[in-house]
């Protein structure tokens, strides 16, 4: 038999997360207090986050130990499989060697559970009585609800309204595990009410949902907030993906020439890319690393690298990132997980350092790529992941045209079993390519906070 999957035993579940900050040639710019413009202190974050998560957020240690109890639960589906996509290679007629790391085997069906689990674990250990969060497509909200169910903590999820309507089954999944799911913008918060006063039909955005979840945590001392992407500690937790992949490539006796991930907030991309990037920073082999985002929400390719708020309601600290302006509300594309105005500060920083590149793709190409992948490999990708697959197909075809056999690695960060409405629209020819919303982005960027000129 040709080997098509590379599995590792439980003993190879990473014992520590990898923190790329330790290996960077320049430290990332610190988050700033929006009032004073001064670097944020740990104490200032404590109303929102568990202390251990704040410590991880600010750490420059290369390795941060994964608690035994977290590894115990991770063992349910980790190490996740690395696949060689031999049928896809054949379908494309490419000499490229295509690999995909598959995170869809987690209980919630995506990579999000990798960080939901430790975030809830640390909150439980520190006595948090309730957790709030936002969710876009619902992958993060599902993961957090399941993790909260395991640790018996109530969970409130503000779900971006457009996704809430497109994906009733995601809400049902969260509620089955005991989570409470609220369409955002909602009347539950000041931030939500302010938006609805201006635009009662607002489809919502991750930026707005973050404002609502942060507000609830800020106002209730026993409640903490968890975020599903963007922050350093979230990216850190996702590095299990890349760390496992490195070991699996040893089993395959290969090494990726190109590594591709989709980006919304940046966490699944960082998860697969950072461990490889770190090896290269420490003098090892160097792969071409490509982030792929929707052309309708192009923070890395068209945004400005500047200090901005992480949310629309301007409740969060200022972080330096590629941003489209925190007031920008992306078109209602069918990849709710990527509808974010900003980008993880660490991803933004490593792009500025020239360690990676970024591309954008339109919705039609995304769904065509997803269906082509599904027909060859049998696994239906989440449309978010299909952004990465679209770029993967481009690279594989380029290899065919140039007669070059490169090794291509893509992060298939989740399955699409909750995205059938979008696939139905694709089949009916109803998926639209949104124009690049240049005017709205320009307007949002014009409203960047003053400190953004730094």
């Amino acid at each position: 038999m040709d080997t098509i999957k590379y599995l590792l035993p439980d003993s190879e579940i990473p014992k520590a997360w990898y923190n790329i900050v330790a290996d960077l040639p320049a430290p990332p710019p610190p988050p700033l207090h929006p009032g004073t413009g001064e670097p944020l202190t740990a104490a200032e974050l404590e109303p929102l986050f568990a202390k251990e998560l704040i410590a991880q957020e600010m750490s420059s240690e290369r390795e941060i130990e994964i608690p035994a109890e977290v590894r115990q639960i991770l063992a349910q589906w980790r190490p996740s499989p690395l696949y060689r996509a031999r049928r896809l290679e054949k379908a494309l007629g490419t000499p490229a060697r295509i690999y995909y790391k598959y995170e869809g085997t987690s209980p919630s069906g995506s990579h999000k559970f990798n960080t939901a689990l430790p975030q809830v674990y640390y909150n439980k250990a520190e006595g948090t009585k309730r957790i709030t969060t936002e969710t876009g497509a619902g992958q993060w909200g599902s993961a957090l609800s399941i993790a909260c169910s395991m640790f018996d903590i109530p969970c409130e999820v503000f779900m971006v309204k457009v996704s809430f309507s497109q994906k009733p089954y995601r809400k049902a999944l969260m509620e089955t595990f005991g989570g409470r799911c609220i369409a955002s913008p909602s009347m539950d918060t000041e931030a939500g009410r302010a938006i609805l006063a201006v635009d009662p039909e607002c489809p919502g955005s991750l930026g707005i949902a973050i404002s609502e979840a942060v507000e609830v945590a800020a106002k209730n001392p026993d409640t903490k907030y968890c975020l599903g992407s963007v922050l350093n500690h979230v990216l850190l937790h996702q590095t299990v993906i890349g760390l496992e992949s490195m070991r699996q490539f040893e089993l395959a006796d290969d090494y990726p020439d190109v590594i591709i991930g989709c980006t919304g907030g940046g966490s699944n991309f960082a998860g697969i890319a950072f461990p490889f990037m770190g090896e290269s920073l420490r003098g090892g082999r160097k792969a071409q690393i490509i982030a792929v985002e929707p052309s309708a929400c192009p923070s890395l390719t068209k945004g400005r690298y500047a200090y901005d708020f992480g949310d629309t309601g301007k409740l969060t600290p200022l972080v330096k990132m590629h941003t489209l302006g925190s007031s920008f509300i992306p078109p209602a594309i069918h990849t709710g997980g990527l509808r974010y105005h900003g980008m993880a500060p660490l991803v933004s920083h490593v792009q500025e350092l020239g360690l990676m590149e970024s591309r954008s793709v339109g919705q039609k190409d995304v769904f065509r790529a997803g269906v082509a992948f599904a027909k060859a490999e049998g696994i239906l990708p989440a449309p978010e992941a299909s952004h990465a697959i679209a770029a993967l197909l481009d690279e594989a075809i380029r290899c065919r045209e140039e007669g070059v056999s490169k090794s291509l690695l893509v992060n298939l960060c989740g399955h699409g079993h909750f995205d059938m409405t979008a696939y139905m629209k694709h089949a009916a020819g109803e998926i639209e390519d949104y124009d690049y919303p240049a005017g709205e982005i320009a307007m949002a960027l014009a409203g960047l906070p003053a400190v953004a000129t730094q």
Copy 2:
């Protein structure tokens, strides 16, 4: 770390399926031609099935080799994981050791892909140009569509109307992979038109959908029919589940005292149970083996062991099985995969031989059990599988009450990500326990064919 999963390398994917017929103390009664009442010949089955599948159907060889190309594709998700449900044990406070074999990691999310793959493979090898089938909940139709997509054969799926309406996303999944999905009863076939003439609102049943799919195959020489359960060769293909489990129990240094599976047509149950049953028949250890079915469609617990048609339209051969009468249309319970009037002849035969027992459970208990399992283990079961889980919880609680530490094995044959409508109804308190439809069953049994008196 406590071990919670037992994985096997690709080299441990079974090289042969296990055929229990070789080890039975008495051969199963043969299928009969409905016109002559004589045992069916292979030639009489050729209009419907690929020759190699007919040979397997009639074989009494203990081992039947799995083709290399089939094993190559099986390797994508097989050997599937065997889990120790330590969190569930803790939640129940039971001294029982609970294990579950998880088939939800297959491309279609259930065990059905185990047989879809070889069925399509043999048809492709023999030149079949189109495949028809029926599907209840949609798990089988999805699996067959994906397999047909891999081998580039057009696929037509008659989907039981009540499930077609409850589960639009299953239809979308089939269509994404190129399958055509038709609500049954339909106007496409004589069988469908005859039913609709009597009852235009008929919710459909597996028996009716089988009639439609068989009719299309019988009338078109280049078209063959595939069945997702019931037949000997289908059960055969599912024995990879039990064969792997036996090796995984060796890794766990344990042996199941009790093995539990749900039954509709009987294939996932036979898949996990028959290899263990065979070991016992050859003089090895003996487990208690329990089939669990819906109380609204209780073929094994309340049906008659008699010759009957496999379909409602009386197009199939007569098979001896536990039947509720082929004209019985089960209530519209939320487990479409179990709404079948009959039972696999081999499962019926081994029950008659005293090698297993059967139980029935109501819908409310099924959903309560499924949610309890999900909250502990993080995996949302398909409601079909939750029948087995309901019996598992009963056994685990009995162990607690009796202070006995038994080893319990359940087949978690699929995930419930396409069953969220049903979970939403459960959350809203709208899942009903149907009364045992005694009158309708009595009427259907009164209409059994004359040969049934044999």
